[in-house]
Symmetry: C2
Subunit: 460 residues, 2 copies
């Protein structure tokens, strides 16, 4: 059944008129997320106030076969929250409370709409840390981060979001409210639904509460930067660092094109003659950090670094980190359309992968620069272009298709931390094969018999 | 269709006569695992040599609706590998090669039948560590550990098996061979099948290869032991340690009854006047470890420890750890039947839970002592009795039912690291509720339409 006026009345009865949007001007902002070139208008937007309202909306939608697309801040980069089949966008930002932070149990219980940064700051005030730190953390929500299993800069040493989710409250598309896991570090009673929902991109259930693990905040930290003549040399240093027995908390790279763009944008005093910049950092007890930073610096020198700079204090560390944080805005200003991807390869294939990306860019006459997480092989090839240039947009689509194929050929994947969404669904078959895609669909059906939850995405 | 002679012939054609067992004397060892009181004879035992043979066996079994129970070393403690409905036990111990250890990528690729200790030692020789260290690691296999998401002593600081599985090769009950994840620290292309299979207790697919993460071996370590007048006092120290910002690699406890049993058994010089023993350890860079061990020791003293001893060297550290390792054998010799459980509660409820266990034991006139992982609230209440005393066996079953109920009441779970198996399936509904149990069954059906894989366990 399509969306009807009666259906809208039912929605209003559930969430209240003030939490329902139906007017075209009100719907437009929810027709897109942070992914360029994807847009589709929903029929309604609802802002439920608790799990019971979410349950009532989903039950109604299942009865009437109306699509429901859960959404947090809408900072998704793979069109994971674009309502490609219309229907209802279910926005969880009213559920934005930190319900509890327990020092004794090292955990927080939060509603899904709280931003990751809010949670991080609240933990920090208690001497604790919420580890996941995706680049979007100032705006993105904990629920959205869990739905995409967000990564960030600390993946190699600390793991990603899934490692920090202890328990979830979730509403199934048929309306049942379930609680998975809990406040426990060890719990193997049943299939691991906590992890299955983490990274399921809002296609299996709607998260209404999360219990996440915190860790004691590290007492010290250190940061440094090294320039290399080439990305190959930088990757040699990465291998040497890891083989020396150090797992740095941060190990980020910028390719030649990124370094130049950042320097032109932010005038940080970066060496624009360098072929690559490596940013490294560690945290923990002060002596251990100092020793690790020293070992990393020496490994860079031994691998032919042009220059190595260690930050003396927090201020200079922040200045070094600025180069990485500026990468995306610095590149974005070079064109009015920015496509940011996150193909990932095994760490030793990183330089080779960036070489392939450069070849692909050149062949398609595109400007693609790459930065990313050298520690875990997670690359962010970033294409800047003019959306009016339809030829370039078409070439960019082709180029990214070739980039995903290359990543798979090198033993990698089409997405390390952003998700599949609508944008990368066409490439999923190449990554997983037909047997696994068929299995994903059967799992999807086990949760969502009417296929109402975020259709056109994972599991479709 | 029941198991027939023709079916046996087909099995022989697939794995070869020399890898098929059909005689009663040959089947008996596979009628039980390490769980007391559970036993059921299979119709056949097969030892496949590769994933293709596993696939052929499963396809055949699905066609003929014959149960297949995957098995590693058979050290399971919840009857997870007992063939309760007969059929074929599929033993994976021939698949016991370490295929690769990569220093550069910090990973190992192994077949499922390799023992965890073999992998650990191979990693150690390369200066690396495979972190999961379940108590069974000398005999249990990596495949079995993944199938149960095995825990161990390092859970709080390092997490459990699931945190170290990067990728799996698995055979679906319908015969398809799939590969989940890979060599990547970040990969969100698709639902997290790697984690869904981890802990699925051989009910969704048969694992035929695993890629696991390794970490650099810590350069130093330290160990200490503290005695307290009561378990409450010991738990107070645990809280103080964690609130001081230390996450110890090891934090184990023995209750009064365990301390006495261990001392009577092993004459280690333990203080038998103590109400509880706390064993603590940390690893990492030497200075940081020394500082942490010192802070832990001081926290114990501040919380009223009777005595704190720090190990000076590896030998004395091993001597301290012996107390924990001896707990199970020391208790087992007190009766000819030992039932070891692993109810788990949030860390602050640990002393309360042990108190409840003591009350339950007294009420049922049973000898139940408890040791376990204080850091993650994972208890191992251990009941020793005489199997000929049918009254006591019945009372023990009742007592463990009450223990599981108590754990759930305190916000805990029926199993922290051993699994559900056949032994705890009756309690799963209380832990998860009917909606979640129904969902597990639908997930099971998505993998195993003919319900042939390890029936009578998780998902049944």
């Amino acid at each position: 059944m399509p969306f009807t006026a009666e259906f809208a009345d039912e929605l209003a009865r559930i969430v209240g008129h003030q939490h329902l949007r139906l007017g075209p001007g009100e719907l437009a902002p929810y027709s897109r997320d942070a992914t360029p070139l994807f847009s589709a208008e929903p029929d309604a937007v609802v802002f439920p106030g608790d799990a019971e309202e979410v349950s009532a909306v989903l039950k109604l939608a299942t009865e009437h076969s109306v699509p429901v697309v859960p959404r947090g801040a809408g900072s998704n980069l793979c069109a994971g929250t674009v309502p490609v089949d219309g229907g209802v966008v279910l926005v969880l930002t009213r559920l934005n409370r930190i319900l509890e932070i327990s020092d004794g149990e090292l955990l927080a219980r939060v509603e899904p709409g709280v931003t990751t940064n809010t949670l991080s700051e609240a933990a920090e005030k208690r001497g604790l840390r919420y580890v996941p730190d995706p680049g979007s953390r100032m705006v993105s929500t904990v629920g959205g981060n869990i739905a995409t299993c967000a990564g960030g800069l600390r993946g190699l040493k600390y793991g990603v979001t899934r490692n920090y989710v202890l328990g979830l409250e979730a509403v199934l598309p048929t309306g049942e409210i379930i609680r998975t896991g809990g406040r426990l570090w060890k719990d193997v009673a049943g299939y691991d639904l906590t992890r299955l929902l983490t990274g399921s991109e809002g296609t299996l259930a709607v998260l209404t509460e999360a219990t996440v693990a915190l860790v004691p905040a590290p007492s010290g930290g250190g940061t440094g930067v090294a320039y290399f003549t080439s990305l190959e040399a930088a990757c040699g240093a990465v291998a040497a660092i890891i083989e020396s027995g150090v797992l740095p908390a941060t190990l980020e790279f910028l390719d030649r094109k990124c370094v130049r763009a950042v320097e032109e944008f932010a005038r940080l005093g970066l060496r624009t003659d360098a072929g690559a910049l490596l940013l490294f950092g560690d945290d923990g007890p002060a002596e251990a950090v100092a020793e690790n930073i020293d070992r990393i610096g020496k490994a860079c020198v031994a691998e032919g670094a042009l220059e190595v700079t260690l930050a003396d204090d927090i201020t200079s560390a922040e200045a070094l980190l600025a180069a990485r944080r500026c990468s995306l805005p610095a590149l974005s200003r070079l064109g009015s359309l920015t496509i940011l991807e996150d193909a990932t390869v095994p760490r030793p294939r990183l330089a080779e992968m960036v070489g392939r990306i450069d070849d692909i860019a050149e062949r398609h006459e595109l400007r693609i620069a790459t930065f990313g997480h050298a520690g875990d092989g997670n690359l962010h090839p970033t294409c800047v272009l003019d959306p009016g240039d339809t030829g370039a947009v078409e070439r960019a689509h082709k180029a990214f298709g070739e980039i995903f194929t290359a990543a798979i050929e090198l033993g990698g994947t089409i997405t390390g931390e952003h998700g599949v969404g609508a944008a990368k669904l066409p490439y999923l078959l190449d990554r997983l094969g037909p047997e696994q895609v068929a299995l994903l669909r059967r799992i999807k059906a086990a949760f969502d018999p009417a296929s109402i939850l975020n259709p056109g995405k994972l599991g479709s």
